[in-house]
Symmetry: none
Subunit: 225 residues, 2 copies
């Protein structure tokens, strides 16, 4: 579990850092918004703790900025004010939770755990895409199903990634051609079908619950049942 704390008050920062490290979490501290922003964007944290009152860029602005940069990491805002307006601004800015200072350390931990847990369940922060018992590890570039490691070629991987990211939705062959092969015209060949077949052999064949389903006349869909 990796946490970024953006907090200008050194004492508080140090206190929180120490406390979290005792939980054996990895902790980075940024002392202003600038530093916070660059750390947040260049590392992959599980959670970001963000003080509202910061020099230069304030917490709301920073949260906003990070969301505009498409960062999905959950953000917990620390606010000394605790008025409803602040809470609303916080959520609007893209925060996922907030905590009013002064707070009990235990409560911080609980809320961080909750954020992290919620995010890891179906989060784009995580580098593992999931559907049912199938995992696609974007770091290792490997698939796993039911404990088996499944190696995929580049094209197979790309196709599976596209399927999982669009699970529950029928994707047409044209969609696939454009998004996976980057081909924007009809080749007249059945390459896609052949690759679907390759994938099925690897991830579905020996399992009871198939994940890739054909929808005749429309395309394919990845779904649990």
């Amino acid at each position: 579990m990796k946490v970024l704390i953006v907090e200008d008050e050194p004492k508080l920062a140090a206190f929180v850092k120490k406390g979290l490290e005792e939980q054996s979490w990895e902790v980075d501290v940024a002392f202003d918004g600038q530093m916070g922003s660059s750390l947040a964007l260049s590392n992959s944290y599980d959670v970001i703790v963000l003080d509202v009152n910061l020099p230069k860029i304030n917490g709301f602005e920073l949260a906003n900025l990070l969301r505009r940069e498409n960062l999905r990491t959950p953000i917990l805002m620390l606010t000394a004010l605790g008025t409803l307006n602040d809470k609303i601004s916080g959520f609007d800015a893209g925060a996922d939770d907030y905590l009013v200072k002064p707070f009990e350390f235990q409560e911080l931990i609980i809320r961080l755990r909750a954020l992290q847990k919620r995010n890891s369940e179906s989060g784009p922060t995580s580098n593992v895409l999931k559907i049912a018992d199938l995992e696609l590890d974007l770091n290792e570039r490997i698939a796993r199903r039911g404990g088996n490691r499944i190696e995929l070629t580049a094209k197979e991987f790309g196709l599976l990634e596209y399927f999982i990211r669009n699970k529950g939705r029928v994707v047409s062959r044209v969609d696939i051609a454009e998004k996976v092969w980057d081909i924007h015209f009809d080749t007249g060949t059945n390459t896609i079908d052949v690759y679907v077949n390759f994938l099925r052999k690897k991830i579905d064949k020996e399992f009871e619950h198939k994940l890739i389903h054909t929808v005749v006349g429309m395309g394919y869909i990845m779904k649990e049942f």
Copy 2:
């Protein structure tokens, strides 16, 4: 936005219900865990508000039960106690947020909005056409009626989509031929009639209230009664 409140104290339940309805949210109230569980599992709510102290099944148990049933709807726990232990149990049981009684109504709204927003971000946005208890899911490319999943071929799907989009209006065979088949002349066959028949077998046959009605000499109309 559809909310389920599980709360045994009638005054509080009524107060919250009224407040949320003023935000034009749909609100159901369950007065005990049993009722809460059956409502939660048979409807699809955006958020569930769950009191910890309930008769029969308590809030923690209920949250646990719902998660074991694979329900992913975000849960906000209401606790009168406010001790850290309760909060921890709440999160462990599968709650996504909690609020200590007594609370400001505005704060409840903020937290519910945040939960709902977060939930709707992940996964493809639902894309569903409806008439009466019939749903046509444009993502999954499947129809549902009264809990049954109904698979359709491409042509059947296209025809049903056209019917639903034009519900309450008589559509002629010429309209259908042009819009669904893209045929602009008379083929002399009764293909459309045959397909209407296919559709009826799948979506109307076993249900009391028929949705596809023949208007002799004119065409067909899809309507509730």
